[in-house]
């Protein structure tokens, strides 16, 4: 195994973890048109559900993902219906409001599970060709993010996804076609929250479970969603993987301390070069 190829493979996996979070955020941004800063809290919720199940002897990632998705969907629908939808016309109130929601959740998690870090067994990595280690959580993150994004893309391309696409493009037309735009919005919000929680449940074995664990992945997936252009699912996946590889390569070849700075600097440069995001918007009509 050459260290560099291991680092690059791990970078792809790290990118998979960003993509997993970014998928839900992009869906919310596209359909509900809201930057959801409570997405990290739902990620944390999923991790705690996985921990609570593992404590009770149910250490199956699928079970944890399903249960946490169900819980998060319920909370997400509530949040979407009672908080996000009523104040949608004030786009600035929402990031702050959802951030407050994340703080609320962090404090609640601290009160329920304690502030101390908790942990679930990781499981030994698989050994791939050439002695490359395939970290379990990494493979799970990569495959599930690819599946999730492909599923989203498929959904948006087919008939059942038509309402989502229409609302993302033009709400007035969607409304005039008799769609219940409000309901579709909060159901989408709930669905995206469920995706975040499932991600948290799947990734929980990779590190420590703490109330504030959702903060770090939130920033990077936010970066991915905004730069990738919000509704281009392929770009989200590619950018996530690219950032993952870049971060790891920088950490290995230059200095780990500056890998975060390198990612942010790369994003800043990208924005300076392409002020409208990496997906060039087609001709805008005035």
């Amino acid at each position: 195994m050459s260290p560099l190829s291991q680092v690059l493979l791990d970078g792809i996996f790290a990118g998979g973890t960003y993509a997993l979070m970014a998928a839900g955020m992009a869906l919310i941004l596209g359909v509900v048109k809201v930057i959801n800063l409570s997405h990290g809290a739902f990620f944390t919720l999923g991790a705690y559900v996985a921990y609570a199940l593992a404590e009770r002897g149910i250490a199956h990632p699928g079970a944890a993902a399903l249960l946490s998705a169900a819980i998060a969907f319920a909370f997400g629908v509530f949040l979407g219906k009672s908080f996000v939808n009523p104040i949608r016309s004030h786009p600035f109130a929402l990031p702050v409001g959802t951030l407050a929601c994340a703080l609320l959740f962090e404090q609640a998690a601290q009160m329920v599970w304690g502030p101390h870090p908790l942990s679930i067994e990781t499981g030994a990595p698989w050994v791939g060709p050439g002695g490359l280690l395939i970290r379990r959580w990494g493979a799970i993150a990569f495959l599930s993010s690819a599946a999730l994004l492909a599923g989203l893309k498929g959904l948006l391309a087919t008939r059942p996804g038509l309402p989502l696409r229409l609302i993302a493009e033009d709400e007035e037309i969607a409304g005039s076609l008799g769609m219940d735009v409000e309901a579709i919005r909060y159901l989408t919000f709930g669905g995206a929250c469920a995706m975040a929680a499932a991600a948290g449940a799947l990734l929980s074995p990779s590190g420590a479970v703490t109330p504030t664990m959702g903060r770090a992945p939130l920033i990077l997936s936010l970066v991915v969603v905004i730069v990738a252009g919000m509704d281009s699912i392929g770009a989200i996946f590619l950018l996530s993987i690219g950032l993952g590889i870049l971060g790891n390569a920088c950490a290995y070849l230059l200095s780990p301390q500056w890998s975060y700075v390198a990612l942010l600097a790369a994003v800043s440069l990208l924005l300076a070069a392409r002020p409208a995001g990496i997906v060039v918007l087609a001709g805008r009509s005035d």
């Binding site: 087609a282 001709g283 009509s285 005035d286």
Partner: protein, 229 residues
């Protein structure tokens, strides 16, 4: 007679689609010109290029003999090329009066005039308000204006720079008959009294015929016909 605005070889693509292909046109001072074309023929893109909101991939735009191809829209406004939008984007929190102050403040001649400019500015705003019939609405926040009033405000905003050329994008669509008539009168008066040239984009051939001396017909990114009325 030298052209007020002339364009040559204007070409613009978005990604792989070529929206406009080698357009040439010229507008004489004080000339009312119409632009007609079906949906998707590239009218809006052409208007955006002429007004400076977009820059063409190839070709040149000249105004009074000076090249302005890559001059942004705000600089063109200060030269005297004003445009209105098909869908107005008002400043929600500003009143009509304030919206006009913004347009007047942008004029460097106005700003450098110093102390005395303040009174002139008030006078100019009052003139614009009464010409467009917005005087009673002058203190209303733009967010609360009706569609008709918003269109009137677009006109007032465009007239604030004492334009030599007005580019009007679908400005009479979806208006009440009264609003339409008053704005038409306003446009014709400006053309007659101040010699303001205009390029009027519309779907409506009778309207174009009644207002313009020359109508350009755009199809699939090319000017296919030019009709004189």
């Amino acid at each position: 007679m030298t052209a007020l605005l002339s364009a040559e070889g204007i070409t613009k693509s978005f990604g792989a689609t070529r929206v406009i292909e080698g357009i040439a046109l010229s507008i004489a001072p004080g000339e009312p010109v119409g632009l007609f074309g079906p949906n998707g023929s590239g009218k809006t893109t052409l208007v955006n290029i002429l007004s400076g909101l977009l820059f063409p991939d190839a070709g040149t735009v000249r105004f009074e003999g000076k090249e302005i191809t890559r001059l942004p829209i705000d600089a063109r406004y200060r030269l005297g090329v004003a445009r209105t939008f098909q869908i107005p984007h008002p400043y929600p929190a500003l009143s009509v009066h304030e919206a006009l102050r913004v347009a007047l403040a942008a004029d460097p001649g106005n700003r450098s005039a110093g102390e005395g400019a303040r009174g002139d500015e008030e006078g100019a705003i009052e003139d614009l308000l009464s010409r467009t019939g917005l005087f009673n609405q002058r203190l209303v926040p733009c967010a609360l204006l009706s569609q008709g009033c918003l269109r009137r405000l677009e006109f007032a905003r465009a007239f604030a720079c004492r334009p030599k050329l007005l580019i009007l994008d679908e400005v009479f669509s979806a208006l009440s008959a009264l609003d339409e008539k008053e704005l038409l009168d306003l446009l014709l008066a400006a053309n007659r009294d101040d010699g303001t040239a205009f390029l009027l984009v519309s779907h409506n051939p009778p309207l174009l015929k009644s207002l313009c001396r020359r109508i350009l017909v755009l199809e699939e990114g090319r000017i296919v016909r030019e009709r004189r009325v």
